[in-house]
Symmetry: C2
Amino acid sequence: MSKKPARDRLAEAAFDLFDERGYEQTTVDDITERAGLGRTTFFRYYRSKEDVIFPDHDRLLEQMAERLSATSSEAGMLAVSDAVRVVMVHYLQEGKVARRRYALTSRVPALRDREIVSTARYQRLFSEFIAAWLTDNAGYGRSDSDRDQVALQAEVIAAAMVAAHNHVLRRWLRGQVQDPLPELDKALGRVIKVFAIPGLTPAGDGSSVGATDDTAVIAFRTSTDLDTLISSLKRIVGS
Amino acid sequence: MSKKPARDRLAEAAFDLFDERGYEQTTVDDITERAGLGRTTFFRYYRSKEDVIFPDHDRLLEQMAERLSATSSEAGMLAVSDAVRVVMVHYLQEGKVARRRYALTSRVPALRDREIVSTARYQRLFSEFIAAWLTDNAGYGRSDSDRDQVALQAEVIAAAMVAAHNHVLRRWLRGQVQDPLPELDKALGRVIKVFAIPGLTPAGDGSSVGATDDTAVIAFRTSTDLDTLISSLKRIVGS
DNA sequence: GCTCATAACGGTACTACGTACCATTATGGT
DNA sequence: ACCATAATGGTACGTAGTACCGTTATGAGC
């Protein structure tokens, strides 16, 4: 009768109790009692009561920070899209747990707030990466004004990407879509397209962008046949 | 010697103490002691210790909800822009207080989180309004698919608008711009323009927004020759 | 099997936020 | 002066989270 690790037993007890009597109505003592462990042990594994629901969030964030910082800068928005996909895939792998958490976060304001804060961290990470990428690849200079434009652009794009992800994710969490990845790709693709990255076709201010750039092509898996794609590509690039 | 209202004295004492010894190092008892009031009184005026820093946030949110819901639907993004401006103007009117709060939120994680949650509420409000507007004015139908597209679009736009606002607001809070309103208008204008609102006219390549295809190809103008591009495309898509 | 270092776990005490409830003191109108 | 009502104060309590130390398991080496 080898017992499960303490960490898991605690999480299990917590989820069960939250379902039974609600989040606020469950104390940490209740959880540890059911898990057959001491109160101290709980706080050793989870920083807070909320933390038991969002366990590997920090890990995921670090993981993505590495992933992005290790990415060669020319990969650009492709890297961001990939990173966003990683988040989605992580939820998919969680499966039922993710949906259980969603049921909780939908009902408990404190948990919803916590989740919002979490996604804001991702957004910030993306924003910083995009800003760096824009600086390197989009022909912006290093003047204060240019830096500000880059920062603004990066923040807006990051916000849009995260919003798109969250929308598709929630659809999956609610069971409105079985395989959300194609939808996600489509949604992210639209965001990227909408921002015309990094075409930024000569703005009125005359800042020519992308003059010195090298190759950057982003393609999403699609059911469209290759010939149609290539002709589209010719139409766009060949201009 | 007519004293100031209790509410104000509490806020004053709180801000002073936060500056002197930091947020976490200041207890509610410290605040009430300096204000010469009872602990109960503090919690009568402010729901929590954090709340003393973000006092009229709920009021502002309600105010904007009214403003938006009272707006005739055809006003569209103009109404959203106005609402965003209202938020900015509110900060400007606060003046030094807003900057003081910014100094605190920059240093104290708990307060930063709280602010993020606050802005998320605005974002949600905008998102709902934009979704309603898109449904009424952008030629979407009432099918499930269309409704989802509207919701996605609305959430992305709302996120972008809020991000733009926050960027300009932070610039002002840091003293990097004296009159942020023109910058704000410019930034919001760009967001609206980028999303091609209204009209949502089909892009040049013929992939209209409402179409049912799942194709997404993004190409950047590049100096690389077409053959290289095509082989890259094959490698990515053809897998 | 024994020893011992180390990791895992438990217990107690403490601080502080936030709530509930009731008592007390202004305040202003008649 | 009286009284209704609002504003304020006090006490007690529950609970999250921290600090600290004591106790028990675990496993490697002999």
